[in-house]
């Protein structure tokens, strides 16, 4: 990566006796869109606040645009934040809200007006909104005003703290698409905090998955989805299956077997093994869409499990089955392409199969 805009090294943050961040490092390149993802309390918001300058790190170094940010207040940083609850000033009009950062930079009034108008156009807001107050706008419009206020002074980094968490699903989808387009158009670096990995995968160039104040994995959406570091990252993406396996390692290669299945021990391809693989609870990550019903003898190389249909859900384009398999704690989830004829009923004994070499070997 060329010189990063944000260079955070071993950031530690303590709140009293509580350690919120255990030495987190993160680089964000110019024009890059990075998402910080994790469950609540994982430290993602704390890290964002440290980047914004609202919190001081207990230890560690932070450079933004090559400049040390120690002791630099939020007001003097080249970052702008979009808050979770937007934090639009209720007593200022839309024009005054958007123009506020420029007014503070002592930009002359006609230029402020011009740039506020330009932001309004960029955000697809109507010019007659200028004199309105935030409370008179809809949720999506407020969102756009908040973005406009954050971007009007052309920051080098835009920080977004779950700005879309309060919106309904449909509006969220359209704003996500707009945000991605906006990022492409203006070329500012974006750092988005979200607990929704799907949102992060849609928007970000790189995703930083956090847990308990540590970075679990940093990678592209493809990395995160197809090569998750461990079960935590894989489970975060959505419904998936973990099949406990026995692993025999020979150097980088690994052979997996399981007493729960009918099938031969299988050699895993090198790129289907997590680099973070440990001895602790090794399992195969089997995606729901890779499992099929089988009757009779399956093709060689497949692993077969015997079970009983626990429940099924018709989702339209797909049908989801949950299969209870003895020896597995959670029912096996499988997604089949939707069809008019249901392949199995609840309570029916079934055989399901998947190709273990197409699965992904990881550990807890």
């Amino acid at each position: 990566m060329p010189t990063p805009i944000i260079d955070a090294v071993d950031i530690v943050k303590d709140y009293g006796a509580n350690r919120a961040l255990h030495g987190v490092s993160l680089q964000v390149g110019a024009g890059e869109f990075v998402a910080l993802v994790g469950p609540s309390g994982c430290g993602k918001t704390t890290l964002l606040k440290i980047l914004a300058g609202f919190e001081d790190p207990t230890d560690g170094g932070l450079k933004i645009q090559g400049k040390d940010m120690r002791g630099v207040p939020a007001a003097a940083r080249p970052t702008r934040m979009v808050f979770q609850k937007l934090a639009l000033f209720p007593h200022k009009s839309v024009a005054d809200n958007i123009g506020f950062p420029l007014k503070l930079q002592k930009v002359d009034a006609p230029t402020v007006k011009e740039r506020v108008r330009a932001m309004l156009d960029l955000m697809h807001l109507k010019p007659e909104y200028l004199d309105r107050f935030p409370a008179q706008l809809s949720g999506g419009e407020q969102q756009r005003v908040a973005l406009a206020r954050a971007l009007v002074s052309q920051p080098s980094v835009l920080l977004l703290d779950e700005p879309m968490s309060a919106l309904d699903a449909k509006l969220k989808k359209s704003l996500q698409a707009e945000l991605k387009k906006l990022h492409r158009e203006i070329g500012t670096s974006f750092v988005l905090v979200t607990h929704d990995l799907e949102e992060a995968m849609m928007l970000a160039d790189r995703i930083c998955v956090m847990r308990g104040g540590n970075v679990v994995q940093i990678g592209t959406p493809t990395d995160i989805y197809y090569r998750p570091a461990n079960m935590f990252v894989a489970g975060f993406i959505g419904e998936t299956n973990f099949l406990p396996v026995d692993v025999a390692r020979k150097g980088d290669a690994a052979t997996v077997s399981s007493p729960l299945v009918e099938g031969q021990p299988t050699d895993m391809p090198a790129d289907h093994i997590s680099p973070d693989l440990t001895d602790k609870g090794p399992a195969l990550l089997v995606r729901p869409e890779t499992i099929r019903f089988v009757t009779g003898d399956p093709e060689p190389g497949l692993w077969v499990l015997n079970g009983m249909v626990d429940e099924f859900f018709i989702k339209g384009s797909s049908t989801q089955y949950r299969i209870r398999v003895s020896g597995l704690d959670a029912p096996l989830v499988m997604d089949l392409p939707g069809s008019i004829v249901l392949p199995a009923e609840v309570g029916q004994a079934v055989r399901v199969a998947f190709d273990p070499s197409r699965a992904f070997l990881l550990s807890e």
Binding site: P73, H91, A135
Partner: protein, 291 residues
């Protein structure tokens, strides 16, 4: 679904409105009407005479003495509003932002002081402000000549007493306003590049205006009717309206005059509040409406 027609004979409506209407009628409207009616009578040989004329009103409008006192009352009230807000705002601000850890304890102490009988507290100030009182004793201790300040029985003493008794109202209204301000708004202002001072004037102060205004109105209304402080600490040398009204009723036994002065005071108070409301509302309207 049948849409219910609300009419004045609707028993539910009557039932729910009656208690409040009765209270307002018996304790507000009727006394006010009686007071007004009283102003058109006169007193003869210490007895009320039902003359139905404008004698009293002629007297009030022809004697500048009354208006001097009214003017003094209103200006004392306005000064008291300004000073109490100036005292209360920093206290409330400190309580809401800096002293969060102890804010409950401090509030309890303030409430204790507030609930202590006002008469007691006001007489307490005599001990402080007297020529041989605590204040002069302290000043003498640090090197000032004896009896440096002769505050007792002056309008200054009245003002000190009023401030002591009334500043707690805006302190609490402003405190509540400040507590309602979302911390993110302050951060958003810093984030946009504003200094602490700028943030205070751009965000904190405008958003605490509701508390500021309601506190100011409370102090104004209460200080217009201030009775205790001018009497105990002001010593009657520069009486305020309430003292004048008391004298008219008690000493001069001139009920119509007392009633008329009461009406004058109420009207002055109402007009001041209306003017205040008019200006603040109009400023809001020119800024673009509902905010």
């Amino acid at each position: 679904m049948k849409i219910e027609r609300k009419s004045w004979t609707d028993p539910v409506l009557i039932g729910s409105v009656t208690p409040l209407a009765a209270v307002m009628l018996f304790f507000f409207v009727i006394p006010l009407v009686m007071t007004t009616v009283l102003t058109f009578q006169t007193t003869q040989y210490y007895r009320l005479a039902w003359t139905w004329d404008l004698t009293i009103w002629t007297e009030i409008f022809s004697k500048p003495h009354y208006w001097t006192i009214m003017l003094r009352t209103v200006s004392m009230a306005l000064i008291c509003v300004v000073l109490s807000v100036l005292i209360a705002y920093p206290c409330a601000y400190a309580l809401a932002t800096r002293l969060k850890t102890y804010s409950t304890q401090i509030q309890i102490l303030i409430i204790f002081a507030f609930l202590t009988d006002a008469v007691l507290k006001t007489f307490g100030w005599i001990l402080v402000l007297d020529n041989n009182g605590v204040l002069n004793w302290l000043l003498a201790k640090v090197g000032f000549p004896p009896e440096t300040l002769n505050l007792l029985y002056t309008p200054t003493a009245t003002m000190i007493g009023m401030l002591y008794n009334l500043a707690v109202y805006p302190m609490f209204t402003i405190y509540l306003s400040l507590m309602r301000i979302d911390r993110d708004l302050i951060l958003a202002s810093y984030d946009a590049g504003a200094s602490r001072l700028r943030t205070f004037f751009e965000v904190t102060l405008p958003l605490s205006k509701p508390g500021l205004y309601s506190g100011a109105v409370l102090v104004f209304v209460l200080s217009l009717g201030a009775f205790l402080e001018p009497r105990v600490l002001g010593g009657g040398t520069s009486p305020m309206a309430s003292e004048l009204i008391r004298q008219s009723f008690e000493t001069r036994v001139n009920w119509p005059l007392g009633a008329a002065l009461t009406i004058v005071l109420i009207v002055i108070g109402a007009l001041t509040l209306a003017a205040f409301g008019f200006f603040t509302l109009r400023r809001k309207a020119t800024k673009g409406g509902a905010a």
